[in-house]
Structures are given as structure tokens and as C-alpha cells.
């Protein structure tokens, strides 16, 4: 049966009975809901929609807001360009028109073993990871010992760089967590740490930097519609040509999206006209040295370094508003 709750409490009540949540339905395969399972359609839930500006430039984005709405919001494009650019570059126009912010954060990973019924793995209740000894060419470069498929969400990378908080609701009430707390390095048998009875309600974006400069890079072989090999988002706060704060996040390299605090720290004090300095180079090299590539993902060490340097250069060259 398809249940169509009109508010969050009703939705939570349904989820509490074991019904499965459905939003944009763009990550449909796998798994199809088991025959007979109830489906909770979240698209009609009041309060899950829209981009709502708040005090001091902050913004609340409802979890059922589509990626296309996010990417096309003119106010958000001015205040949070890193997020908007990331949203506009993912998947295809058709998918962005249906896919939601919450669904993007909670989507299943893209491992072809997980999607193939002939294999079983850590992610679907089995033992071991067939990709580890098999084809994992698009896998992680920071190995956490279990599943080797990187986290697939592009928005998560941008939200880390935005220092966003995610508002969750469950029967006991609502709480906010930092975006990175939604994910875990070992991931367990899933790609996020949310309980099945919990719901992402909204994403809260703090206001922009005074001197916001951004960059976004997706390394992929095709121009559009491809899961990135590495994705990187940079936000800098620049005053008088000097970087005062930096936020750098990367995706497709580990089981979770990552911030790179050592690079961020090294960037403080950089002059925009001088490009990437030695300190930043050293910090990037440290990130690369910390990589633990799999047999087929060695190339991602170089690609990660290149993407981070590239995205910083882009942000340094960004004229800002």
C-alpha cells in the first residue's frame, strides 16, 4: 500500500511500523520494496519543501526539495554558490527534477556488486566484500577495511563545505546533527547512520562568509551524467586578498565525504594572487600520504591531489560577488 502522510508526525508513525520511505525514487534499483511492504510517500508532507532564508544569511532547505529546485534558486545561488554549483552538476536534468535533497544524502552507494543479485556482501547482510578482491577501480582510496565503495552523494560533499546541519525527526522528537555525523567511515551495513524510523527533515545552512569565494570540481571521463572519480568543493573567506578561512571537502574517495582540515588550516593567510603556496602543497601532499589505496585505485591518490589543488585554484581565482 502507498501511504501519503500530510505531516511529519504522520510520516514518522508510518515509518515506525516498518513502512519504507520513498521520495524522488531516482535511486530505485535496488532494492525494490518487498512485495506487500507499505511505502510512505514523503513528497506530500507539509514542511519538507522549499528554500527558506533565515537570519544572518542562513537558509533552511526542506528535505523533499528537489535537486533542480536547489540548483535553480536565485537567492541560494548568491548566498551559497558552492552548494548550488554542486547540485547543478550532478546526474541529469531529468533526475535532478525528481531527486530530493534528503534522498541524495541517504542514497545507496553505486557498487556494481551490491546491485548484482549474484553477489552478497557486507552491505546486504553477507560477509566480506567481493569488490575488494574483484573490480574496484572506482573504489575508495582511503580504505576503512570493510566495504570499498565510496559514498555517492555529491550534495553531502558540498554540505560539509557549507558546515551545514541536518535536522532529523523521530518519534521522540527532533534533533540537529552536523552533516558529517550522518555518515561513518565503516558505514556498517549502509551508507548512513540514520535509523529506519528516522527522517531527514531539513538541511540548515549557516550564512555565507563575508568574502565568499568558491570552487567545485568533478573529475570524470564524460562531460555530464557521470559519477565522479573524485569530487571537490572549496569555500574561502577572502578579505583584502587574504584567505581568512577555508573549507575544503572531497567526495568519492572514502566511505564518507570528508573535510580536509589540514589543507584548510594551511590555506589561512594565503594571498589570492599568489596561488597555491608551499604550505598548502605540503598539506595536500600529507592528505595524499594518508591515502591507503586499493590495488586498482592508486590513481585516485594523484587525482585527489589534482582535484584539491584545482578546486583551490578555482576558488582563489573566483572574483566573488
Amino acid at each position: 500500500m502507498i501511504l501519503r502522510p500530510v505531516d511529519v508526525d504522520e510520516a514518522l508513525a508510518h515509518l515506525g511500523t516498518g513502512a519504507l520511505a520513498r521520495a524522488g525514487h531516482t535511486g530505485a534499483a535496488p532494492p525494490e520494496p518487498p512485495a506487500g511492504a507499505d511505502v510512505v510517500d514523503l513528497t506530500g508532507v507539509d514542511g519538507l519543501h522549499g528554500v527558506h532564508p533565515g537570519p544572518e544569511g542562513s537558509v533552511r532547505v526542506g528535505a523533499a526539495t528537489t535537486v533542480a529546485e536547489l540548483a535553480a534558486d536565485p537567492g541560494l545561488a548568491r548566498s551559497h554558490p558552492a552548494l548550488v554549483r554542486t547540485a547543478g552538476a550532478l546526474a541529469t536534468p531529468e533526475v535532478r527534477a525528481s531527486a530530493t535533497v534528503g534522498g541524495n544524502l541517504l542514497q545507496r552507494n553505486r557498487c556494481s556488486y551490491l546491485r548484482n543479485p549474484a553477489f552478497s556482501c557486507l552491505q546486504d547482510g553477507g560477509h566480506g566484500c567481493p569488490a575488494r578482491g574483484g573490480d574496484h577501480a572506482r573504489g575508495v582510496v582511503m580504505d576503512s577495511g570493510g566495504c570499498v565503495e565510496p559514498h555517492p552523494s555529491s550534495l553531502a560533499v558540498a554540505l560539509l563545505a557549507q558546515e551545514a546541519q541536518v535536522e532529523l525527526a523521530c518519534a521522540e522528537g527532533r534533533r540537529r546533527v552536523e552533516a558529517h555525523e550522518l555518515f561513518a567511515p565503516d558505514g556498517g551495513a549502509g551508507d548512513h547512520v540514520l535509523a529506519p524510523s528516522e527522517l531527514v527533515v531539513a538541511v540548515h545552512l549557516p550564512g555565507p562568509f563575508a568574502g565568499e569565494r568558491v570552487g567545485h570540481l568533478r573529475a570524470a571521463s564524460r562531460s555530464h551524467a557521470e559519477w565522479p572519480l573524485v569530487e571537490a568543493v572549496a569555500r574561502l573567506d577572502v578579505a583584502g586578498g587574504t584567505v581568512e578561512r577555508a573549507r575544503i571537502a572531497v567526495g568519492a574517495v572514502a566511505r564518507e565525504p570528508l573535510r580536509l582540515p589540514q589543507v584548510e588550516k594551511a590555506l589561512v593567510g594565503s594571498r589570492t594572487e599568489q596561488g597555491i603556496g608551499e604550505g598548502v602543497e605540503r598539506a595536500v601532499a600529507q592528505v595524499q600520504q594518508g591515502c591507503t589505496p586499493l590495488p586498482l585505485t592508486g590513481y585516485k591518490v594523484a587525482l585527489l591531489g589534482a582535484a584539491v589543488r584545482g578546486v583551490i585554484e578555482e576558488a582563489l581565482a573566483d572574483p566573488g560577488r
Binding site: I2, H25, T92, G133, S221, R222, L303
Partner: protein, 875 residues
């Protein structure tokens, strides 16, 4: 709650996808389901005006929304007319999805910008959720830009080059996957889960296996012939089931129990070569039964374990080997010896393999098949089911692409025929995208060693090519042998090997063997030019005696793209480079080709059992007949894709046009003579005024003539061989010039511009010929940069079984392409022109390779040129 579909209110089901509801429930088959995962866009419809992938959208989500399908656009939206006018399609299977998204884009663009053409980048971005496997992107770009500019607002438009283009753009063209009635059951293939095993038993579960018995809705099962009772790859068909609905069929398939006795498997070709490796075909008998992926019969060759070969083609081979060995010993700097590899490329036509079978009361068999060989299906089906050919009726009205993989009695046809026999009703079998990508055919991966030796004056002294095909369980690699056709008569030794493994079999794919040879040979030639400190064009002009390519080289020399290319070392993140490649193909024809013309209701109906897989042969026949009759194109109706008509050629071997074209011309000449008998004032040649023509056609009502394929002047090189194939005199030629921009930071290669020069004699239909060449550039770019079938190294299971993991080039990935035809050199052929579907596909990837080298100084050796390989190479 209801939904509004194309202005009609209708209820919404609680289950299934929107695509299923529109297609099966409402009969709106314009939207196609090609990937089922929201990647290809063929199923796109407008939901509240927004392009939406209906294959992902749950049907219940349509409630309260307004849906416009391609049918709802009405057929006269400026975008639909522009698609027809610019020939923005080939097979047309993806067209409805493109049209729907492009219509939404165009309407929005014009509202925002007025009637100005949209740019390539904007169009590519808007259509980035769509894939065209035929690669008709150039036409799509120009059609959308023209529609944006308001060029297709008027009512009067000239007749499109492709007569079925309006039907395809309107979603009216029905493909095999669109067919089926309420009595049509759904068939599903049961496939091996073992890489190598003896099949002990196939138990049908609750399905019945004999005709007649059982309840009316009881599922049926048939075993599919597993040669010698051994399965040799994961995904090999073992059985098929059918039931009244797809859901029931899948359920029944899940209940089929196959007992296997596993045998040791060998997955990698390195592993297969090792002494003591498990053998796929231990006995001579089994080896003879190995499937072959060549289009022509595969000549015999010795076997050694899992290695078959060499098949040798030589011209003074011992001399070549002596010279190369000596050069190797003396470390001659003008010896170029290199190794190149290619990955498995999957045909992946957007319409999957599909067949609908029905046994008629009189014992005859009716088949609707998505096939490129209507006549071969008749012959093979008749042999398989013990029928006379006249008892088998095959129809293929519109075929959504083939590229070589849809020939003869493929699994879908076999299963549908068997299931329909047992079920006692019509059964259709349509492969899923996953099945298509696993077992729908592929161009095998290759490893090719090429050696070239030049002397101090830069003349070619010796050539050797050793090539190994990695075709899974199948054999028939011919990569090296094609080296006999290039660069004169220099001594050469060419050896082909196959290494068999427990992976799915290959199938002939557009210019079989050509692209991998060009990938190796043309880069080796460029390497030699570098050693000789010579321009790559100059070197080819000295080595290459082919008159067609020599004419093309002269044009290239003056081409700004080549003449003004960047020189010297390039620096910076983005580096531009230009490369070229030469290629050749045989001229083949179908001597039995026929076209029948009949005067019906004052118009001319052209019939033949050929089929159009997107090549445009329908238009070639129609325009040839109209030209020779002196009639307006609209007076000639072409009815093809029906085996009951006179013999027509299969769409393979680049032979449709040079076979059907002359037959159509002769038929028209014969009809014209018949008309003149009735109306003597009708002129013997040239246009006829409409009044006279009308009078003559009225007088000739019911007259029927058949045109044949006249023999070439001086005859053909071979007689008419099996499957109506002959090789004609003369080789066609092509030269590709490719410009790329390499992002040295992120390792991405972006082809920016391409010039394709073709020497194929007279071109029958300039726009449709150009479309073929442009599409070959797209497929070649895919081969060069993106496409790679991937498998699990332990079980051989194909992992790249959706269109996210098997990456086809999209609209944003292809170069702006210009096509040049050199139209001389085939005057001995009736019609003066030969086919071009293959020669235009051979050299594209090789030109990309040479361009990457020109841009970066690094020469790629392995396809595809992925970011990881490029970054490794530039380190």
C-alpha cells in the same frame, strides 16, 4: 485521484512505473524503455511541463499531474519538424525522448531569449539525460538550434531526407518492443549462474513444458539448447519461461531449478594461456562447436589449449620477418615495435533484442523481430523448426539499432518461437538492458603487437601484426588480417589468435576487426613519422597508394584544422592537439537484392525484404525510385521489413545501399518503360510532369516490375557466397582528422572538432550518409574514451550491466564534425557508389590516440583512454 494524459483524464494505478502505465495501460508506446534506470532518457515525458524519466517515476505519482507524452506534442511541434528536417535521428528509438526534452527546452529558450538559436553547450546541457547509440547528435544540435530560431514554425516544410522521420519524431513508429496484444505472453530467459558447469537437470518448477496440457494461465518453460550440455559463462541462456504477465514470468523464472556440476573456470586471458589452465574446449569436436563472431565463415586454425591460431595472412612473410629480425638485432631506430590493447565494446542498441512469435493455425510461424537480417531469420527459423521458408513470416518494421548484434536466430527469437509453440499463444521476449549488456554481443577486446620497419628514405620495408582476440567463449578474430589492405604491397606477416575464456561471446560489430587494427597500426605509423621527423600526413602520402585516400590527403593538406594545428610542445592545464588516421574497408554487395515496384491506387509502392536499422535504406530506395521515375518523392511509398516481399539484403557488411540502390534503380527503369508503353509521350529520362505521370500511373494500375542488382562492370571479385554476399572490386577509404583538448589536471580528453573524409564513390543521399559518418565518430569516441565492458575477475560476471557503468558518449562528449565526400572511384559499380557504414567507423579512435599524443607528447596504448591512464602517462 486522476491524471491528465495528453488532455484526457484517466485513473492512476497504485503500482508499477509511469512508463509501464503509459505504454501497457494506455497504449502510448512513444516513450521507450531502453535502460530502465533513468540514464538514457528514451522514456522521457513531460510531467507538469518538466521532462521526467517515466521509467523511474512510480505510476501513482501521476495523480493530479498533467502528462504530455511525445504523442501529445501532436507531431507538428517545431522541434518534431526540425528533427525530421535535419535528420536528427537514425534508428529513431531514442528520438521520442529527445524530442520531448528538446521541445521543453526550446519552448523555455524562446520564452527567455526570443527566436535565436541556442548554442551547442546549452543544448548539450539540457539534453544531457539522453543517449543516442547511433550518435545522431550533430543533427540533434542543428535541429534544436533551428527550432529555437523559429525556422520550423511555418506549415510548409520540404520533404525530409528520411521518409519515416516524421513518424519517428511523433512517436508513431512502432518498434518490435512496442508490439503485442492482450493474448501476448511475456517471455523471460533463464541464464547460467555458473561460469563453467555441466548442466545436470533443468526443472520447470510449476511451469509446463508441453503444448496443450494445463490451465490457460499456467506458465510454460522450454529448455534452450546448451551445446554439449555445458554452460561456459555466467549469463548463458539455459531455459526460457513465459506467462501472461511479465511479473508472473519473472516469478516462474525464479522457480526454474537448474542443477549444475561445476567445472574449473578460467576468466582472464593471461590465466587461460598458462600451461595446465582449465580448458574450455578439450576435444576437437567441442572446438568445432565454439561460437564464432566473424561475419564471414571463420577459416580453420590450430588450437593449443585455450589458444586458437594463428590464422596467417602473409605477403612475402618470410622476407618481412627476416627484415624485422635483422632490424631488431641491429637496434635499427626505424623499427617501430609496439603493443596496443582495446577493451570490449558492447553494441547496446537502444532497442534491445526483441522478438514476438505466433504459430498460426496453418502451422506457419509469424515473427516480429528487431533484426538486421529479415531473410536470414527466415532461413534459420525454417531450418530450426523444420518448416519451408514460405511458412515463416518475419517482419521488422522499425528496428532500433543493430550494429551487427541482431543477426539470424538470436536467443530472443529462438526463445519466443519455442515458448509460443508450447504456450499456444503469442509470446514476446524482450531482453533487459542488463541482459543486453551482458550477452547482447560485443566487439571483443584485443591485444595487438605491431612492427613497422622503414628505410633511411622513409619507405616502408616490412610489417608484422600479431593480434589476440579476447572474445570469451567465442573465436574469430580478424584484426591482423585486415593489415593486408593498408599501405601497399610491402612484405608483411599478419597473424590472428583467439584466447578463449569463460566469458560471454562476441558478435560482429560495425567494421569487425577494423577499429582495433587502426588503433594499433595508425599510432605506429605516427610513431614512425616522429622517428623520421616527418609530418604524419607526408608519411602517409608516401606509403599509401589508395587513390581515394590520396585524394582525401590532398584535401586534408589544405584543411585549416590540420594546416593550422598547434606545433611544438604545449604547456598549461588544457592542451590542444590534432591527430589523423587513415582507414579502409572492403566493398561488399548482395547480388540477390531485389526491389519490386507495384502501381497501387495511382502511386508507386516499393517493396523488398530488406530492413532499416537506422541506415536510411528506406529513404535510399524511395529517392532512387523517385529520381529514376521522374516522380515526386511523395508518390513513392516504401514498404520494407517484411520477408514476404522480394529478396532484400541484410543490413551488414556496408552493402545495403550498393545492393538495394541499383536494384531500385533498375526497377524504376523497368516501371518507366512499362509506363511509356501506356503513355508514349512520357519522356525516357528526367523529370516527368505530374499530369503525364498521373495519367501513366492510372493506366498502369496493378502493374508490377522487379529490379535486380546488376553485376558490376568487370564482375565481382568473388561469386555470390553464402548469405547472399559477394566482395566487389576496389576498397573504400577514409581519413579522420581529430582535434582534442586534454585536461592534464583531471585526466580528461575532450574531442572538440573532427573532419571525416570518405571515399565511397557517389553518395546516394548526402544528409543520411553524413548522419552515418557523424554517428560513427560518436561511437568511435566512445570506443576511444569511455566504453569498456567490465567483469568480475573471479567469476567472469559482467559488472557493467547498466548504462551508468557502461558509459556511452552523450551529447556533450562529441566533437563538432564535418564530413567530406570524395565521390569518384567506383564508376564500375551500378550507381557508382558503395557502402560507408563501416569504413567511417574504423579510424576514429586511432585519430583520437594520435591527437592525444600530439597534445601531450604521451602516446596512449590502451583503450579506453581513461583519466587514470592519462594521468599515469603524464606523470
Amino acid at each position: 485521484m486522476d491524471t491528465d494524459v495528453n488532455g484526457r483524464r484517466c485513473p492512476v494505478p497504485e503500482s508499477g512505473t509511469a512508463a509501464e502505465h503509459l505504454r501497457e495501460g494506455l497504449g502510448l508506446t512513444g516513450a521507450k524503455v531502453a535502460c530502465g534506470s533513468g540514464v538514457c532518457g528514451a522514456c522521457t515525458v513531460l510531467v507538469d511541463g518538466s521532462p521526467t524519466a517515466s521509467c523511474l517515476l512510480p505510476a501513482d505519482r501521476l495523480a493530479g499531474r498533467t502528462v504530455t507524452t511525445v504523442e501529445g506534442l501532436g507531431g507538428d511541434h517545431p522541434v518534431q519538424r526540425a528533427f525530421a528536417g535535419h535528420d536528427a535521428m537514425q534508428c529513431g528509438f531514442c528520438t521520442p525522448g529527445f524530442v520531448v526534452a528538446a521541445a521543453a527546452f526550446t519552448d523555455r529558450w524562446r520564452a527567455e531569449h526570443g527566436d535565436v538559436p541556442a548554442g551547442r553547450a546549452e543544448i548539450a546541457e539540457a539534453l544531457s539525460g539522453h543517449l543516442c547509440r547511433c550518435g545522431a547528435y550533430e543533427g540533434i544540435f542543428s535541429a534544436v538550434a533551428a527550432a529555437c530560431a523559429g525556422e520550423y514554425d511555418g506549415e510548409e516544410q520540404p520533404a525530409p531526407p528520411r521518409p519515416d522521420a516524421p513518424d519517428k519524431a511523433a512517436g508513431r513508429a512502432r518498434f518490435t518492443t512496442d508490439l503485442g496484444g492482450t493474448d501476448t505472453w511475456e517471455g523471460v530467459i533463464v541464464r547460467s549462474t555458473e561460469p563453467h558447469a555441466r548442466v545436470l537437470k533443468v526443472a520447470a518448477g510449476r511451469a509446463r513444458t508441453e503444448p496443450g496440457a494445463g490451465g490457460p494461465d499456467e506458465p510454460v518453460m522450454v529448455p534452450l539448447a546448451v551445446p554439449d550440455g555445458v554452460v561456459r559463462y555466467v549469463g548463458q541462456p539455459v531455459a526460457a519461461v513465459a506467462a501472461p504477465t511479465a511479473e508472473a514470468a519473472h516469478r516462474a523464472a525464479g522457480q526454474v531449478q537448474v542443477d549444475y556440476d561445476p567445472l574449473p573456470a578460467v576468466i582472464g586471458s593471461e590465466e587461460a594461456r598458462r600451461p595446465g589452465a582449465p580448458q574450455l574446449y578439450p576435444t576437437a569436436e567441442e572446438r568445432d562447436g565454439a561460437p564464432a563472431y566473424g561475419e564471414a565463415p571463420t577459416p580453420p586454425a590450430p588450437w593449443n589449449g585455450n589458444v586458437r591460431g594463428p590464422g596467417v595472412v602473409s605477403r612475402r612473410g618470410a622476407t618481412a620477418v627476416d627484415r624485422l629480425r635483422r632490424a631488431h638485432r641491429t637496434e635499427d631506430p626505424l623499427l617501430v615495435a609496439q603493443e596496443y590493447t582495446t577493451a570490449a565494446q558492447v553494441h547496446s542498441a537502444l532497442e534491445p533484442h526483441a522478438a514476438l512469435a505466433r504459430w498460426e493455425q496453418d502451422g506457419s510461424l509469424s515473427l516480429e523481430v528487431s533484426t538486421q537480417t529479415v531473410r536470414k531469420v527466415v532461413a534459420k527459423a525454417a531450418a530450426h523448426w523444420g518448416l519451408e521458408p514460405a511458412q515463416v513470416h518475419v517482419r521488422a518494421g522499425h528496428v532500433g539499432g543493430g550494429f551487427g548484434a541482431k543477426q539470424g536466430l538470436t536467443t530472443d527469437v529462438l526463445a519466443a518461437g519455442e515458448l509460443a509453440r508450447v504456450a499456444g499463444t503469442a509470446v514476446r521476449v524482450r531482453l533487459s538492458r542488463s541482459e543486453e549488456l551482458i550477452d547482447g554481443g560485443h566487439r571483443p577486446g584485443t591485444r595487438t603487437k605491431v612492427a613497422l620497419l622503414a628505410d633511411r628514405r622513409g619507405r616502408l620495408r616490412a610489417m608484422a601484426v600479431d593480434s589476440e582476440g579476447d572474445g570469451g567463449v567465442s573465436v574469430g578474430s580478424n584484426v591482423a588480417a585486415l593489415g593486408a589492405l593498408m599501405y601497399g604491397k610491402t612484405p608483411r606477416r599478419l597473424r590472428d589468435f583467439d584466447v578463449v575464456t569463460n566469458r560471454p561471446p562476441g558478435a560482429p560489430m560495425r567494421a569487425p576487426g577494423g577499429p582495433p587494427l587502426a588503433w594499433a597500426l595508425e599510432q605506429a605509423v605516427d610513431t614512425m613519422a616522429e622517428r623520421l621527423r616527418e609530418d604524419p600526413l607526408t608519411l602517409r602520402r608516401r606509403w599509401d597508394g589508395n587513390p581515394k585516400r590520396r585524394a582525401l590527403y590532398r584535401t586534408v593538406a589544405d584543411l585549416p584544422l590540420w594546416r593550422d594545428r598547434p606545433r611544438g610542445a604545449r604547456t598549461g592545464r588544457f592542451r590542444r592537439g590534432v591527430g589523423l588516421a587513415a582507414s579502409t574497408w572492403m566493398y561488399m554487395l548482395a547480388p540477390q537484392a531485389r526491389v519490386e515496384l507495384r502501381v497501387v491506387d495511382g502511386a508507386v509502392v516499393a517493396r523488398s525484404a530488406t530492413q532499416d536499422i537506422g541506415t536510411g535504406i528506406r529513404g535510399v530506395v524511395g529517392s532512387t525510385v523517385a529520381d529514376r521515375l521522374g516522380a515526386p518523392a511523395a508518390w513513392v511509398h516504401v514498404e520494407i521489413g517484411d520477408s514476404d516481399a522480394v529478396h532484400g539484403t541484410g543490413a551488414f557488411g556496408s552493402r545495403s545501399t550498393p545492393s538495394m540502390g541499383p536494384a531500385a534503380a533498375q526497377a524504376a527503369d523497368r516501371l518507366r518503360a512499362a509506363l511509356r508503353e501506356r503513355v508514349p509521350e512520357l519522356p525516357a529520362s528526367g523529370p516527368v510532369d505530374e499530369h503525364t505521370l498521373k495519367e501513366a500511373l492510372t493506366a498502369a494500375e496493378g502493374v508490377s516490375v522487379v529490379g535486380e542488382r546488376r553485376t558490376d562492370r568487370w564482375g565481382q571479385l568473388t561469386p555470390s557466397m553464402a548469405e547472399d554476399l559477394a566482395v566487389g572490386r576496389g576498397l573504400s577509404g577514409a581519413v579522420h582528422v581529430m582535434e582534442v583538448e586534454v585536461d592534464t589536471l583531471l585526466g580528461r580528453v575532450r574531442p572538440t572538432r573532427c573532419w571525416a573524409g570518405l571515399g565511397v564513390g557517389r553518395v546516394y543521399s548526402e544528409r543520411m550518409a553524413r548522419n552515418q559518418v557523424e554517428g560513427a565518430v560518436v561511437q568511435g569516441v566512445g570506443y576511444a574514451l569511455f566504453e569498456e565492458r567490465r567483469h568480475d575477475p573471479v567469476t567472469g560476471t559482467v559488472l557493467s550491466d547498466d548504462l551508468e557503468d557502461y558509459r556511452l558518449p552523450g551529447p556533450g562528449d562529441v566533437p563538432e564534425t564535418r564530413v567530406h565526400f570524395h565521390q569518384e572511384g567506383f564508376e564500375h559499380v551500378p550507381g557508382s557508389g558503395v557502402g560507408l557504414g563501416e569504413v567511417c567507423a574504423v579510424g576514429v579512435a586511432a585519430a583520437v590516440g594520435n591527437a592525444v599524443h600530439d597534445a601531450t607528447g604521451w602516446r596512449p596504448h590502451a583503450l579506453p583512454v581513461r583519466p587514470d591512464r592519462l594521468l599515469e602517462g603524464l606523470r
